[in-house]
Symmetry: C2
Subunit: 768 residues, 2 copies
């Protein structure tokens, strides 16, 4: 780990003491989101030290022209960038003519940040000695409303301790913002209009190229000793900024407060010409409800989320804080209510990686959302890809594929590929397989096969077509091979016969063929529609089957393991344990050349396949592969430790499983990869959830039934979680030597526990 | 071919008829150079149509910050860009107040360009009907002086045919220029000073970052009916431009002419503070000599070059024009007199590829310069790499190599790597081998072994160290393997055991070990110095030998050929002949993904190895490999057809050899790759020379003797060329059924002809 300043606490993320070096990291960790908008924990008042300013609106992006050294055919034209949106949180403060700026204060005492995850708010407080010797006590509470997802609210309380003082608050909106991550240092927003209506301010801006229109808005109320003051104010309008100036004379020790309501409305949800009107409505409703009411709503909304999604751990505060932070951030990022949105790798905590959607969603996130929310949410995530099928077919056509073959993008905002490295976009084709894995998981978990005839089968056919065309017959092997790929392990490029890719390709074909058969038997009208739409012929399916049946899998007779790729054993095999700490992380210490030629694995690859298809292999096989690959894995991807944790648990290696759990759950809090200031690793947080539920809890679906094999890491007194399984809620409470199950539902539920079938009756706790 | 507007002629490149679409292509083809500076065939007068402006100074470059989508450790910081230098050729012309601009003229008649290669000048003439109905006849002669390599001269003659007219010439210097090829659209030059002394103008500018200082200069003389007119002129000075305005009243039909002398002096050759003084000297000497004297000097200098370098072909004008164009361009680019310079891939004809030095120099260019110039020139080219050895060691260190291992750069200006694609810089390591091949060729051809103890052995040791470290032992193969490389065929990346790379690696070690032994025996003091300097131990050499002895070479028992790389036969093998024309060139029609997975070969790869090490293999082996790989080769690199031409000739397949010869010799004239407007392919032109000398002529060195096996392509009446062999000149004249040899030298020379040893006496023609 690279930092340990976050104070362990069951329900809050806490920081104490001001350190300018930590500002950017904390800006990431204390980021707020409500699924529709997000905000890094930037200070409201001006800060002249190092800061990474970030305000984000879900679904709004900019197609940043691709930057490469040497253009190659098929490159995507752009990289879809997550956009820093106009600033609505800003409140400049000056006291007796001196600006409050923590970077220039003589001293900052009692500095404290609290991120209250239970109630969904963020508070920052401190006492500053300003250059003019004023002693100022400040407490700022901020939240983004879950219930009103276009709204945020701030309460900025300030007390000058040592003198009477003249205080000026200048809440503002600013659309003259820039992006940390921009290929060409272009501006992404064009300011269209600034309006004011009484004490309400509005800036309407549009993104260049994509022409998203957004109106940022604000309204403020001033309080003195907790009584609202109806005072005058002045307006300062600049080209891309509007500020309102509130001035108040405060006695020594008298508390003044500014409440600021703000946020965004966009043309994704409103008519363009109605944006200011819509924003005005949001403000009208918010201000008339009042700050305290809004805050109560917020607590209530988060209580509802936690009621279902919480995982409680007894006896290990750091582990508890870690999992709650993960669950909290996942819910801040995506709530599943808008099928146009998805789960960006950094959520609303940063800009790196761009795009909103990676294979992370299908491979890691869907199980979490499926089990902790209404199943419609998981269906929405599947439908997102169904809606992008046409674009995925176009993407494959650009690379030379035909006949409706689809290659889903590595990164996307709107279905188009928008990454920009050939070794990733052209080669990391295994992502196509995750689309189908997600469908299977959805069907198995929810029991809702109807998604396949309705939508899923078209996706699966297009993907099967891709695999059949992408494989080629090797006469010397008398097998089908898949050449020139990058597997999940991105520390190898352009390898042949990556086992994971070949295996998932074959499986996609097999699962598609079986699904076609089932749809043909049971959903005749869907079947006809799909056959007509896709033009699928029996001959084509038979070509697929040939590829599947003769797919090649590299295997070592010597080690009795599948090989990550054809020539893996030609590498020099030296376990990670023999690498000095000074050499790691290798992606910061070694040249790319050296990494590619090394045996080191960035993230689970063959083991990722064993994770998805665990039931295809014996435990002895899992163990053999785990023992071969785990020692070579450096886990320099956030998506890696969770899989290893689950597998270590399945093998009964609880100490190792716990170590991987800590790494995945506290990846950002403890900054394992020395990069949290760029933002948090949102999608891997769903992997953390899986480490507990599938790892320690041993949850699987076996023959359509929930199955558990619960274990407790050393030192834990117990843990509990809930699953929404087929519209009934099952609560699992694991304590030493006993596990109890409580069903909130209507029908008795048969489950497997440690290999035995037991029946849980509604509302009757069952202890095993 | 994509164009055929160049009129065949034995000694000139000719274009007739104005076509705006051809302007940029002709700007490349008619480029001038004198080894020290160069100039695309841009018009002197303003041209508002599409044009690619390029004026270049040898050795002056800009480190353009690398552009990549995603930074990886070890990437070079910059790509060294060839720089468009301040314009000295410009002469704006206006007549009766209307600017002469071929793009806006009502008509352009009798347009003609001639590039007289024999005499080294370029002339453009036309009759234009201007928008104001004036009929203007123009003839412009231009050359860059070989003898005075800081000087160029222009004679701009103009006659208004239909009226008396007022003519204004505005010769100018302009440093406000931009680069076609710039990653960030930055300016590369900063203008420092503009001076004028009487009718002489000077602009001194420096390059950003590299701080090269250059002074562009000019002086003009005005003539009316061939008599000099001493008229007044005015000066117009702008921030980055200085123009002199000469006004003259001309009668209808009266010829007026402006002679402009100009060029560059730089701080590579002068003190910075003396630049204007030096430029003034150049002008002083040039103007006092006068245009006609300078032109005579030029003809004389080119006559001397042709005397030695010409290849005369009888009976095939296109073939003759092709080879002379190639020889002419090579001499325009590099004359071998300055060891700091090298042969850029586009010479002075464009900016693409940047850098000045690729492995092209060692692999293709050295034989030409060695045989047609004093051997000191080839030695200078070898010394260039010796001088960069420290940088090559640093380059390897950046990638993780140690102990003085060297990796020569893929592209460089000053010894540092300056390409920017990992798959090229990190992987295309075979270039290291060409450095040693060049040393061996030099020693074999010149008989001068002394280069090895003096300089070459240090280079060879550093390269042997690299190969030993880069190879790794594969337990499963019980061999040393070289993983993750790109061979000469850049249509495969990150392959394992590229045969060419493995073979040249082993050979480098073997040749180094043998050289060490010879130096130890015969150059004891050099040996001690080198051992001390390099710290070489017997143990290290024995480690090298182990790698060499156990090097792995992929081989197909089925086809009895070495395989281009481990998994080549897993690809779908379909000959190029079955690819439709519409699919080619594949680098313009296919995605990179599809290219990488295909079996198509961009340029000779295994066959390149057979070319370098022909004597290691039997003719039957060559034939087998040629028949296997030739049908899969698309020749989308300019460096490919020459090798195939030589090998086809060696196999007696004259028709095929001739086809490849035409392709290499007229690559730019006929624009085979549809890109000549970006510049000409200079380095491959040396391959064209080899196609005749080594291909048709069958020239080899056998046991230290020149050896020939002459053949004549169908339709040729004969051909002749000269070789400077060990300080004697041998002229070879090949006619049907007989070849004659004439020796200009002092000692009888034993040579092989068609396998027999014959003796050529000085000045006594010998016919066989």
């Amino acid at each position: 780990m690279n930092q340990d300043y976050i104070i362990p606490n069951n329900w809050s993320i806490l920081e104490e003491g001001f350190d300018a070096e930590r500002v950017e990291a904390s800006e990431s960790l204390f980021s707020l989101g409500n699924g529709a908008m997000g905000q890094r924990a930037n200070f409201e008042e001006n800060y002249s030290g190092s800061t990474f300013q970030g305000s984000y609106i879900a679904g709004i992006y900019y197609p940043d022209k691709t930057k490469v050294g040497w253009w190659k055919n098929g490159y995507p034209e752009y990289f879809a960038k997550v956009l820093n949106a106009p600033n609505w949180i800003g409140i400049n403060v000056s006291i007796n003519g001196e600006a409050l700026d923590l970077h220039t204060c003589k001293d900052v005492k009692d500095y404290r940040r609290e991120f209250n995850m239970k109630e969904g708010w963020y508070e920052r407080s401190f006492t500053a000695i300003m250059p003019n010797e004023l002693e100022v006590e400040v407490k700022v509470l901020r939240f983004l409303s879950l219930k009103r997802n276009e709204l945020g609210a701030i309460k900025y309380e300030l007390t000058v301790k040592n003198v009477d003082a003249n205080i000026i608050f200048e809440p503002y909106l600013d659309s003259g913002i820039t992006n940390e991550d921009a290929n060409w240092e272009e501006k992404f927003w064009k300011t269209l209009e600034i309006n004011t209506i009484a004490d309400r301010g509005f800036i309407t801006a549009k993104t260049f190229k994509t022409e998203f229109h957004a109106t940022a808005f604000m309204q403020s109320r001033l309080f003195q000793d907790d009584r609202e003051v109806k005072t005058g104010f002045s307006k300062i309008q600049e080209n891309e900024k509007i500020s309102f100036r509130y001035e108040v004379a405060a006695k020594k020790g008298e508390k003044v407060a500014l409440q600021k309501f703000g946020g965004y409305v966009t043309d994704m949800n409103h008519q363009r010409e109605q944006l200011v009107f819509a924003a005005n409505n949001v403000l009208e409703n918010a201000v008339s409800a009042g700050f305290e009411t809004l805050l109560e709503e917020q607590k209530q909304a988060w209580a509802e989320i936690w009621e279902m999604a919480d995982i409680a751990i007894q006896g290990d505060v750091k582990a508890q804080q870690g999992i709650r932070f993960n669950i909290f951030q996942l819910n801040q990022t995506y709530l599943g209510t808008d099928a146009r949105l998805n789960i960006g790798p950094k959520g609303f905590t940063g800009e790196k990686y761009g795009g909103s959607t990676y294979w992370d969603t299908e491979a890691y996130c869907i199980p979490f959302y499926m089990a902790t929310k209404n199943h419609e949410v998981a269906r929405n995530l599947l439908t997102y890809r169904y809606n992008h099928l046409g674009r995925a077919i176009e993407n494959a056509e650009k690379l030379g594929f035909t006949n409706g073959a689809a290659l889903y993008p590595m990164v996307t905002m709107n279905g188009e590929e928008s990454h920009n490295e050939w070794e990733i976009t052209f080669e990391e084709i295994h992502r196509n397989g995750a689309m189908v894995v997600a469908i299977k998981r959805y069907v198995d978990y929810t029991g809702d096969f109807s998604y396949i005839p309705e939508k899923g089968l078209e996706v699966m056919i297009a993907i099967a077509r891709f695999w059949q065309q992408r494989a080629n017959y090797s006469t010397q092997k008398d097998k089908f091979v898949i050449l020139g790929v990058t597997g999940p392990n991105e520390y190898e490029n352009n390898v042949n016969n990556n086992w994971y890719t070949n295996y998932i390709a074959k499986w996609c074909i097999d699962y598609c063929v079986a699904s076609i058969e089932k749809v043909k038997q049971e959903f005749a009208s869907d079947y006809s529609r799909i056959i007509e739409k896709t033009g699928l012929s029996a001959e084509e399916v038979s070509n697929w089957k040939e590829v599947s049946e003769k797919m090649y899998f590299p295997y070592s007779e010597e080690y009795k393991v599948f090989l990550q790729q054809d020539n893996f054993l030609d590498k020099e095999i030296v376990p990670v344990s023999e690498l000095s700490r000074a050499q790691r992380p290798i992606n910061q210490k070694w040249s790319w050349d050296r990494i590619l030629r090394s045996c080191y694995i960035k993230q689970a690859d063959v083991l990722q396949g064993f994770y998805f298809f665990e039931d295809h292999f014996s435990k002895a096989e899992l163990e053999k592969h785990f023992d071969f690959y785990e020692p070579l894995t450096v886990h320099e991807s956030s998506l890696s430790p969770c899989v290893h944790s689950i597998q270590a648990a399945a093998l009964g290696r609880m100490e190792q499983a716990y170590e991987f759990y800590l790494r995945t759950s506290r990846l950002d809090l403890d900054d394992y990869n020395n990069e949290v200031k760029e933002g948090c690793h949102i999608t891997s947080m769903a992997g953390t959830w899986m480490s507990i539920v599938e790892g320690f809890g041993g949850m699987r679906i076996v023959d359509g039934k929930l199955s558990f094999n619960p274990r407790i890491p050393n030192g834990w007194e117990g843990y509990s979680f809930k699953l929404n399984f087929r519209d009934q809620i099952l609560k699992i409470n694991v304590a030493p030597e006993k596990t109890s199950f409580t069903l909130e539902g209507h029908d008795p539920l048969e489950i497997h526990v440690n290999g035995n079938v037991v029946k849980v009756e509604p509302s009757v706790p069952l202890t095993v």
